[in-house]
């Protein structure tokens, strides 16, 4: 009876969701071998914690998890590990653990072992509600990732994205928020007019986006948890491309209220506008430098779209020179490079440009790429691409070595926005 009820509940839930699934399309050949041994479980639990951790680590491009079929032994405690078994498999690190039920949830014990050093690097006990098991698994992935790489893990973050179904006037648009692995999705807005450009506030609590629901575009800010929202702009012409300043107090945006699309900065509390650019060309797609002192944006003042950098109150400086189409740039968290859409001989690709050397490299092989969004730890970029005639999300590691896709069950998915760190 409970099984039946659970099945019905699951069905109802799935109707309001649009989870994405992960396909690793290219593993990193230089990834570090690791084995995440299936955790011992008291009885059937709704989530396979070891699988979630293994998938997280593989998706990062930093790790190559060992297939379960290749595991001769399946220890669940560090004390039971025979390091020789794993050294023979060239495994560098080993994760073992067990899950047991507690009152209302589960207790997860796990240990991270250094195989060559034959030592324990990490050991923890985590308790979580039964419906928080995925979140707990992502937290463990974060810990393991940081312990080994020295880089803060970004598996406990979220992504926002826009979906559409249908064509022409019958198209339905939705804005979703999901875990960084595409699961646990939740609709935050639905409209029969376009929704565009979701952008997370730096505290992860709000989304700015563009909605055409009134028949013309407006920039809205919505609290993710409560759904409460305000419309910030509905000027004549474009109201587009909002992005938050690092301090969360201002939004950069592109408006054409004064003629051509220009970059403006709005103080969110007072709604005062400051015009940043002034030209006869298109200026749009602004993004803030991590220090909040300057903006990069797309301008076609040279004839085609290129990226320009401008300090607030300063004058613009062109920073892209490779090819005749460079657009929609976003800073890496360290401010030393930008990720952008570059059109070269291979069409529209995600690319990375080092700001000091000016060198631009294409990342991955996804076609018709759009809307790159950088993970808060700078290790991955998520973007929109096409697969089988549908819009899907793709991911590529910042070094271009590893790629994955996040296809949806139906419809088009696009404009991913990676949240900041949330914990």
């Amino acid at each position: 009876m409970t099984t039946w009820l659970a099945a019905v509940l699951l069905l109802c839930t799935s109707l309001a969701q649009a989870d994405l699934t992960i396909d690793i399309t290219q593993g990193n050949e230089q990834a570090t071998p690791i084995a995440v041994v299936p955790f011992a479980e008291g009885e059937n639990l709704p989530q396979d914690v070891a699988r979630i951790i293994s998938d997280d680590l593989e998706r990062s491009g930093y790790f190559a998890p060992l297939e379960r079929e290749a595991m001769f032994a399946r220890p669940t405690r560090g004390d039971d590990v025979s390091f020789g078994d794993w050294q023979a498999l060239d495994t560098r690190y080993l994760v073992v653990g067990r899950v047991s039920r507690t009152g209302g949830g589960v207790e997860i014990q796990y240990e991270l072992m250094n195989v060559s050093g034959e030592s324990r690097m990490l050991g923890e006990v985590i308790t979580a509600g039964q419906d928080q098991m995925r979140a707990a698994a992502h937290r463990i992935s974060d810990k393991i990732f940081e312990e080994i790489t020295g880089i803060r893990g970004a598996f406990s973050t979220r992504i926002a994205y826009v979906t559409s179904q249908g064509v022409g006037d019958e198209t339905a648009y939705q804005l979703f928020v999901a875990d960084a692995d595409g699961r646990n999705s939740r609709q935050v807005l639905s409209s029969d007019e376009p929704i565009m450009s979701p952008a997370w506030s730096p505290d992860g609590g709000k989304l700015a986006y563009v909605s055409f629901e009134s028949g013309r575009p407006g920039i809205y800010v919505q609290e993710v948890a409560s759904g409460r929202r305000v419309r910030l702009t509905s000027f004549e012409g474009l109201n587009s491309a909002p992005t938050w300043s690092p301090d969360g107090r201002r939004l950069a945006m592109a408006l054409s209220r004064d003629g051509q699309p220009e970059i403006y900065v709005m103080d969110v509390a007072s709604q005062n506008l400051q015009r940043v650019t002034n030209s006869q060309s298109i200026e749009t797609e602004p993004a803030w430098s991590p220090d909040g002192n300057s903006l990069i944006y797309t301008s076609d003042r040279s004839g085609g779209p290129q990226i320009y950098r401008q300090s607030l109150g300063g004058s613009p400086e062109r920073i892209t020179f490779t090819g005749n189409y460079n657009a929609r740039a976003r800073f890496a968290p360290d401010g030393e490079s930008i990720f952008l859409i570059h059109r070269g001989g291979n069409g529209y690709r995600v690319a990375k440009q080092d700001l000091e050397s000016g060198r631009l490299v294409e990342l991955g092989d996804a076609r018709q790429a759009e809307s790159p969004s950088v993970a808060p730890n700078g290790t991955m970029v998520i973007f929109a691409t096409q697969q089988g005639g549908n819009g899907v999300l793709g991911g590529v590691s910042a070094d271009g070595r590893a790629s994955f896709r996040l296809p949806a069950a139906q419809g088009d998915v696009r404009e991913p926005a990676w949240s900041p760190f949330l914990n």
């Binding site: 064509v167 028949g215 529209y348 018709q368």
Partner: protein
């Protein structure tokens, strides 16, 4: 912005009829483009036209002269990366200009669209540039700017699906939405 299905079907039929009469001009690519556009362009680009126009009574009592009815062709198409009005669409724009001048209370939203290539927000700006180009044309013809509003949809509302030249050609358009 919700259009009744029957209105859209009607407009689609009318668009097809009119477009079928358009001669193909320009290069071979553009020529085949126009031909295919005629077959399907009405779908998805249907505007608020028929139903609302008759309801508003615009043009009635004006002696049913030319320029008293909303022109039937309400979508014009553009070349790749261009906001130039193609010669074959000048007469379409002139008809809309006459209508708007003869009906000072009428107003139109020029919906600018692009194909899917390139980044979304930049395409939004390019769609606006196309619609602005039409607005300037109407203005030169003597239409009051207060009767014309521009709304760009960029690549967000394609008339045709598909990543091919045919679909691209149908999506690079400006729609007159009365």
């Amino acid at each position: 912005m919700q259009f009744k299905p029957y209105a859209r079907t009607l407009i689609a039929a009318m668009s097809m009829a009119v477009m079928a009469g358009c001669s193909s001009t320009g290069g071979t690519q553009e020529g085949s483009m126009d031909g295919t556009a005629g077959g399907t362009a009405g779908v998805g680009t249907g505007t608020a036209g028929a139903g609302q126009a008759s309801g508003s009574g615009l043009g009635e009592g004006a002696g049913q002269m030319a320029g008293s009815r909303i022109p039937e062709v309400r979508t014009i198409y553009f070349a790749y990366d261009s906001d130039t009005i193609r010669p074959e669409f000048q007469s379409v724009l002139e008809a809309h200009a006459r209508f708007l001048q003869n009906n000072g209370n009428a107003s139109v939203v020029l919906q600018g669209h692009t194909d899917e290539r390139g980044t979304r927000e930049y395409n939004l700006a390019l769609g606006e540039r196309r619609a602005d180009s039409v607005k300037r044309f109407l203005s030169v013809q003597g239409v009051s700017p207060s009767q014309v509003e521009v709304v760009s949809y960029g690549e967000e509302r394609p008339a045709a699906r598909g990543s091919n030249e045919e679909a691209y050609a149908q999506n690079r358009r400006v729609v007159f939405a009365y």
